[in-house]
Structure formats: C-alpha cells, structure tokens
Amino acid sequence: MPSPARTRTLRDAIGLGVAVGLYGIAFGAAAAGAGLSTWQAVAMSALMFTGASQFALVGVLGAGGGALAALGSALLLGTRNTVYGVRLAPLLTPRGWVRRAGTAQLVIDESTAMAVAAPDRELGRLAFWATGGTVYVFWNLMTLVGALGASGLGETAQAALDSVVPAAFLALLWPRLRRTAAEPEVSRRVAVGGAVVALVLTPFVPAGVQVVLAVVAVLLAGRPRRTAAA
C-alpha cells in the first residue's frame, strides 16, 4: 500500500544509501593503498560492513601498524553498533536466530539513524531495511570500483589518495561535532584530546598503537549529565 509517507521514507532511505555508498570508492582506494588485495577490500565491505571500523583497520595497516592495533581500533569503533542494536531491537523485533543474524549485519550508523527518526514503527522498519539494503549494495559495488581504480596509481594520484584518507576520517567525525549533535562540545573536547594523545605518543609506540591508546581521551567526556534535577 503506497502512501506518501512510505514513498518519502523510501526516497530518503535510498538517497542516503546511494550517497553513503559512493563513499565506498574512498574505502576501496584506501584499502588498496594500505596493501590489501581487491578481494580483501571487497571481503571487508561485505563481511565487516561498518565504515568507520573498515577505514580504521586499513588506516592503521597503511600507517605500518600491526595486526593487533588494526583489530583493536576496528573493534573499538564497532562497539557503537552494539548500542544501536539495543535501541533497534524493540523496533525491529527480529524473531528467531536466522532473522536476527540477517538483521544484525545491517545495523550501522545510517540505518539506525533513519529507523529511529521515522515517525512510527512500520516506517521505522521500512527505513531500516531500505537504508541498510541500499548502503550495503552501493558500499560493496563502490568498494570494488575504488579498489580496482587504485591499483596502478601514479605518484601524484597516490598523494591525492593520502590526503583523502584523513579527510574521510574528518568527514566521519564531523556530524558529531555539529551544533545539532548530542553534546557537541563534549565530542569536540574528546576528539581534540584523542588527536593530541595520538600525536604525542606517535614517536614512542609502534604505528597504530597510538590510535588504540587514544581511546583514553574518552575520560574527557566526564560523567553523564543528570537528566533530573539533583
């Protein structure tokens, strides 16, 4: 039953999915630049399917980091999907192991944001599946394009790619710092703290380890703000 609300939800979900999916080109190129094969890049997008963790893993490897530092940063960034799942479970109520296992793979930033923002439960489910599905398809396709395009790059193109990777991380961080985000001033403090810790540690620890250690900057967030007057 097509209704204006359903059409609008689908249009928004697919539009966001395509836009975010395009970002997969940058991931594919970054993965190739870090020494991953095309198949490894594609496997990451298909199996890991959570952008920030994927970028962190190849970023650490590309910087010469070890396996444990790369895994540590990817898994730490993946913890937020656990919280998304907790928020989504009552909305999606995936019954049975098989449905829950399939649903879980699509629990990412964009599908959660769209599902939670929908005006009712039915539209929330539609937004989750449409956004998650569209991002999945385009993210994987564009990863392949990026990985294939990046192999055999010249020196200047490599310099361009080197500049795209930090910009990609900044673009992932940016929405958390905007005035419309939850407690943006806290996010800014924590992000700057993380950057300072990482730069200070860079000369002293193996590549990539400083990124994992920068997680201590989360202490700058302080205690949760009291919601009730105390």
Binding site: A52, A89, A160, P166, G194, A198
Partner: protein, 105 residues
C-alpha cells in the same frame, strides 16, 4: 604483512564487528544501558576518529611530518563547514593533496 596475515586480520575483524552488532540485538537492554557504559560507547568514536584524523594527516611511521595531507585536511574542514556532500569533500581534499605534491615535487 603477508597475504595470509592480512586475510586473518580481515576475517577476524569482520567476525568481531559482526558479533558486536549481533550482541546488541540479543543481549538484555539493561546490560548495555548502564549510564557509564553508554557514555563511554557514545564518545569512543570521537576519541578514535580524532586520533585517526591526526595520525593519518601528520604521522609517517614514528615521525610527525607536514605535507600535502595537512593542506588537504584544511580544505576538507572548510568544505565540511560549508556543508559540502561527503564525496565533494573527499575530491577537494585529494585535489589539494595532489596539487601540493606537484608544486613541491
């Protein structure tokens, strides 16, 4: 790093990230909804992404270096402040980095 090691990292990382997603749909909400736990999880991405921005833009092995990447980052920040779409931000940053490489080379 050998291809075998890379595959191990890719597959172990993928499995770990998947289990983190699956856990969210499966565990009782009360386990994860402790205020301190949600506080930490809410702000871990900011700490790590801040660190990754800094390291990817200014570190080379154990050295801190200033090169086209910082120029690209500045251009990206400007583009983001002007609300440019993701893909435009990345293209502009890449173009800036390449330009610095050509001019400095």
């Amino acid at each position: 790093m050998s291809s075998g090691t890379l595959w191990t990292v890719v597959l172990v990382g993928s499995l770990g990230c998947y289990l983190l997603k699956f856990a969210g749909l499966s565990v009782p909400a009360a386990w994860v909804q402790h205020p301190l736990v949600t506080r930490v999880v809410d702000f871990v991405p900011a700490a790590l992404l801040g660190a990754l921005v800094a390291v990817q833009a200014a570190a080379s092995g154990r050295d801190l270096v200033v090169d086209g990447r910082l120029v690209g980052l500045a251009v990206a920040a400007l583009a983001l402040a002007l609300r440019a779409p993701f893909i435009v931000v990345l293209v502009l940053a890449g173009a800036a980095g390449a330009l610095v490489h050509v001019l400095a080379g």
